[in-house]
């Protein structure tokens, strides 16, 4: 039983294409995230959704559009891919901290390695 699963694991595509990465969590969490990990392993938050509502957008180009059809899914669509978009993208989820003021951990998917050529 995979808690946070994302597909595909690898994605190789040409510049200018549009692609999507899917993420699903079966933990019953209210909050989901997308993170980007660059070649230097720096992990940067991109988006955060809480109960299907966007709550964080960290100055990500508008070519990136997250979509949350329900609170168990958060997909990432990327338009007009550029070379600089090559990275590993991680989906994660956590409980809404409002329900647990003692702190909450994030559960990560295995990552999607995106290579733009």
């Amino acid at each position: 039983d995979t808690a946070v699963s994302q597909t595909p694991k690898y994605l190789v595509t040409q510049m200018g294409n549009d692609k999507s990465i899917k993420c699903e969590q079966n933990l019953g969490h209210d909050t989901m995230y997308w993170y980007k990990q660059d070649s230097k392993k720096f992990l940067k938050i991109m988006f955060s959704y809480n109960n299907k509502e966007l709550i964080i957008n960290e100055t990500v180009p508008n070519r990136f559009s997250p979509k949350s059809p329900d609170k168990a899914h958060l997909n990432l669509h990327i338009n007009s891919l550029e070379l600089g978009d090559s990275a590993v993208y991680f989906c994660a989820s956590s409980q809404d901290l409002g329900a647990s003021l003692s702190g909450t951990e994030a559960f990560f998917g295995q990552g999607t390695r995106l290579t733009v050529v």
């Binding site: 720096f42 992990l43 964080i56 901290l97 994030a106």
Partner: protein
Amino acid sequence: SQQGEEDPQALSIQEGENATMNCSYKTSINNLQWYRQNSGRGLVHLILIRSNEREKHSGRLRVTLDTSKKSSSLLITASRAADTASYFCASVPLYNFNKFYFGSGTKLNVKP
């Protein structure tokens, strides 16, 4: 930027030795967490320390937190080859619980 930073960037030790990694962050926090990332895998949560705590233990892990210096350290005692991984700290801001700010991690290599 509100991102944290881990130090050192890389650490190589012999099996059985202790490994210490440090983390600095920039804003007031609700809590700070440490994660491990094995090569080609996602991050796995190790331990969480709240802002009103100074030290926490979990098995071979010991975490300290100094909020006055905005820093934390992770100590892994009696390291094993299986501890080889990258270790990240994540700071959770005081007024924005739904954010986890990571850095670029410390790459630990434990030689058998």
